[in-house]
């Protein structure tokens, strides 16, 4: 009866609930889980961090480049020797903290020291910004500073400004870290000043209490109920408000942003139709198309699509003995029917890819590599080459360590509530079962799935990954330094480590293209993960909002630039 009642309720006509025009309610499929700026590791925490804090530079899709944010202008670079470069920034003179004190180069130096302080969760920062070796403050201008970076590529210069600047006045009011230089801090774990700072920082528990860290972004945290909602309030007086014509990066219109965590896509769609949500990004294709065709929904909603740099992957845990060899991973990849999955889950609107570079980036995409084909026959051949033998009962075994034979039986993990992930898992399972490979589906709630991924407790995992067209640093994702941080598959090899390092320091575009193509070739063989397709962002937004600022960068829209419609636009 309950089932029937639920179905009946879900079929009822949506009713609009009372809303305030100043509060923009945005759908999230997952909770940010932690909001410590040092540990940003998922799209939701990335989105909030960019509203609470500012970094020196920020990606701008329209300009296809990194643009100044807290920096006054693009950095000036100067090469030093054959392996270093100086990257000089000047901070905006208008930029201030919430207490009115100016944001100075000293704050940047402090942030870099925090990002290198032993005892803090700095693994991700180290993997991404470990190339920043030192900072030199300008004695004449307190807003000017120079970063000493390893590598001479333009990518390194761009990445060097992509971390949130932290307030020294709030975290270290005594300036205890000023006496420790940046190169020395990594080696100074035993220094009392650093140890005391680390203890103070850890005691703040910023992962759960981000409100204890005042940022220089336009919003502050109003409330956060993990797994339910998170509300940000616009600062009454934000430093960028004084700019006469603020650039897009420094605009912040909504007075309040409320992110509603609704993991289940069908429930989120219902909430949108009932007027309980204003923005729903990454909507499943079938739901999106259905709403587009509904006259009543078209009256209330606007629909947007944008080519994204987000791609769906099936990740192999290479720590598992059965998935350690590339041939097995290749074989299993041939059991994924990508064209049919695109048709079923994306209504045919997605772009298959040979690897993690988007086919839209023609200069770097390896278009000579063949796309993945669905071929159980080829999978069988590859399994044979990987020394797997079919047993009389139809299963697969090969000699394992010692005398114990290794059985090919897998689990495939994915986020519960996401229909496209489930479709991929079920398709893979049926194709594998036809070959005699048992596959068990594990649909887990997002926070539990994240824990399992970090701990390496999975065989195969379906997850979305997002890139951008500005930088090609795969260190967090695929380098040995990123294992346990962003590299969930546990894959690394001397060749790929070397290629990743060469790509980020490549100065010549032709050389960079050559290296990226080689990297794609190697990854197509190694397959720590298989890229299924690059998807489109499908966003449905309430008509009570103005034109939604849509972007191809994660999360597909710019929340801080959402506006209510002007009278002119309504007319």
């Amino acid at each position: 009866m309950l089932v029937w009642a639920s179905v009946g309720l879900s079929a009822c006509s949506p009713t609009s609930s009372g809303t305030t025009t100043e509060n923009i309610r945005i759908h999230w499929a997952r909770d940010p889980e932690n909001l410590d700026p040092l540990r940003v590791d998922n799209p939701s925490s990335f989105e909030v961090t960019n509203l609470l804090h500012c970094s020196l530079l920020r990606g701008n899709e329209a300009m296809l480049d990194i643009v100044p944010w807290l920096a006054e202008s693009a950095p000036v670079t100067r090469l030093l020797g054959d392996s270093l470069q100086f990257v000089t920034y000047r901070l905006r003179p208008e930029a201030t903290w919430d207490n009115g004190s100016p944001i100075l180069a000293q704050d940047v130096a402090f942030t870099l020291k925090v990002m290198n302080a032993p005892g803090l969760p700095i693994e991700r920062s180290q993997a991404t910004f470990g190339f920043i070796r030192d900072i030199q403050l300008d004695k004449q201008d307190p807003r000017r500073f120079t970063l000493v970076c390893a590598g001479q590529s333009a990518d390194r210069a761009k990445i060097s400004g992509d971390f949130s600047i932290l307030p020294e006045y709030a975290l270290d009011p005594q300036g205890s870290l000023r006496s420790v230089s940046l190169p020395a801090i990594g080696k100074s774990g035993t220094q009392p000043a650093v140890q005391k700072f680390v203890q103070r920082y850890a005691a703040l528990d910023l992962a759960r209490h981000p409100e204890r860290l005042p940022g220089c972004g336009p919003y502050t945290l109003k409330s956060w109920q993990p797994g339910r909602y998170l509300t940000l309030r616009r600062k009454a007086h934000w430093w960028a408000d004084t700019l006469p014509t603020p650039p897009a990066e420094l605009q912040a219109f909504p007075s309040q942003l409320t992110y509603q965590v609704i993991p289940d896509a069908a429930t989120a769609t219902l909430a949108l139709r009932r007027g309980e949500l204003d923005v729903y990004a990454m909507m499943p294709a079938t739901q999106f198309s259905r709403l587009q065709q509904s006259a009543s929904d078209k009256e209330k909603l606007r629909f947007y699509t944008a080519d994204s740099y987000e791609f769906l992957t099936v990740n192999f845990n290479v720590r598992r003995p059965m998935l350690r060899d590339a041939l097995t991973r290749q074989a299993l990849s041939h059991l994924l029917n990508v064209p049919a999955l695109i048709k079923a889950t994306q209504q045919g609107v997605a772009t298959p890819s040979v690897g993690l570079i988007s086919p839209r980036i023609k200069a770097y995409y390896h278009d000579s590599l063949p796309l993945l084909t669905f071929s159980p026959t080829q999978a069988t051949t590859l399994l044979g080459r990987a020394k797997w033998q079919r047993q009389p009962d139809g299963s697969w075994q090969r000699p394992g360590t010692g005398n114990t034979p290794e059985r090919l039986q897998l689990t495939i993990s994915y986020r519960a509530g996401e229909p496209s992930f489930e479709t991929v898992a079920l398709q893979f399972r049926s194709a594998a079962a036809a070959l005699g490979i048992p596959v068990q589906l594990v649909a887990a709630e997002q926070s539990r799935l994240s824990q399992q991924l970090r701990a390496g407790q999975f065989d195969l995992a379906i997850r979305n990954l997002a890139g951008n067209p500005f930088s090609y640093d795969f260190t967090p994702l695929l380098h040995s330094q990123g294992i346990g941080v962003g590299n969930m598959t546990g894959f690394s090899s001397p060749l790929t480590d070397q290629l990743i390092e060469e790509i980020v320091v490549a100065t010549d575009p032709a050389q960079k293209a050559r290296l990226l193509r080689k990297f794609q070739l190697v990854m197509a063989y190694e397959r720590p993960f298989t890229v299924l397709y690059f998807s489109k962002y499908r966003i449905a937004a309430s008509r009570r909002l103005g034109e939604l600022p849509v972007t191809g960068l994660m999360p597909g829209y710019e929340a801080h630039r959402i506006q209510l419609p002007t009278e002119a636009s309504l007319q």
């Binding site: 639920s6 879900s10 079938t286 999955l341 519960a416 479709t423």
Partner: protein, 323 residues
């Protein structure tokens, strides 16, 4: 008029039996191979070749999914119903037969049991980490203490075990929490396997059979022939087996169809909410849940809904006839 009524009842019963037999036959004949989704025809409407009952949003054929869902009912709901009746019946019999004073246990074993429970609570972490070693040590230690105490006269003196009050308390506790909420909370913590779901349903649904069995046992144990059997020196086990259960089991067996219907509904609801069986296990509830992804796909409501309603009505019909 009576004949007409009887004819209708027989006719209903025949229909119910026919439907339930069909479900069982369908479940037994259903293919056990993993279904292949037709990704080119997802949420496809019925009456079109080759998917005559349509497909779900994942591209699975609804007809095959219905058949495999019937097998899930056979393998999950019926064993769960049987275990529920067994557990409820056993606890209800014990509560009704011994009441609060009939079951007497030596003090030594009371103390050993208390220590065992306290040890389990105190060493919960160690039990989770190394179950065999810790539980073995606990059992051995408590057993030894119990044996040592049992050597003394004080230890051998019995204390009454208030089994009736304990079971009645458990029934009240379980009944005070809505069944669905209780099962949902447990299932949400850890998605159960098929075996786990059977266990979960058994542990949460035994209260009604237990209450019935307790009442029937209380009534039966006062009968003259039971008193005579006791007076003749038969053991409790013999009295229960030979003189009480033959009279009380039919009461619980009456409950079987209704319990199966209840558990089918519960399993369907859990699968509909996505916290029941693993996603790869076909079930009618999962078919119904497809409507949330494709609200226009009426066939995802009609076919599994009709199967569910007919099965439940048939079970109720059987139960009525038995009464």
């Amino acid at each position: 008029m009576k004949q007409m009524q009887r004819f209708c009842q027989n006719w209903h019963r025949a229909l119910a039996l026919f439907w339930l037999t069909s479900v069982v036959v369908a479940a037994l004949l259903a293919t056990s191979t993993v279904l292949v989704p037709d990704l080119l025809h997802t949420a496809s409407p019925p009456f079109l070749s080759p998917h005559w009952l349509g497909t779900d949003p994942q591209g699975f054929d609804v007809a095959y999914a219905l058949l495999q869902g019937a097998r899930t009912i056979l393998y999950v709901s019926i064993p769960a119903a049987a275990l529920t009746l067994l557990l409820g019946g056993a606890l209800g019999s014990a509560a009704g037969y011994w009441s609060n004073t009939g079951l007497r246990v030596a003090r030594s074993w009371w103390i050993a049991s208390g220590l065992l429970v306290a040890g389990c609570i105190g060493l919960a972490t160690q039990l989770y980490a190394a179950f065999l070693v810790t539980s073995g040590s606990l059992l051995t230690g408590c057993g030894l203490i119990g044996w040592l105490l049992h050597q003394s006269t004080w230890g051998r003196r019995p204390w009454a075990f208030p089994i009736d009050a304990l079971i009645a308390g458990l029934i009240v506790l379980l009944d005070s929490i809505p069944l669905l909420v209780l099962v949902l909370v447990v299932a949400a913590i850890q998605q159960p396997s098929a075996g786990g779901l059977v266990l979960l349903m058994t542990l949460t649904c035994w209260t009604t059979p237990a209450r019935l069995m307790r009442a029937a046992t209380l009534r039966t144990r006062e009968l003259a022939h039971v008193e005579a059997a006791r007076a003749a020196g038969l053991s409790d086990w013999q009295v229960l087996r030979r003189h009480i259960w033959p009279l009380t089991w039919p009461v619980v067996m009456l409950r079987l169809p209704l319990t199966i219907a209840l558990l089918i509904g519960l399993e369907t609801t859990l699968s509909f909410l996505g916290v029941g069986l693993p996603p790869e296990t076909p079930s009618w509830g999962r078919l119904l849940a497809g409507i949330r992804q494709s609200p226009a796909a009426w066939w995802l409501i009609l076919w599994p809904g009709a199967a569910l309603v007919l099965t439940t009505l048939s079970l109720h019909q059987l139960s009525r006839k038995k009464q």
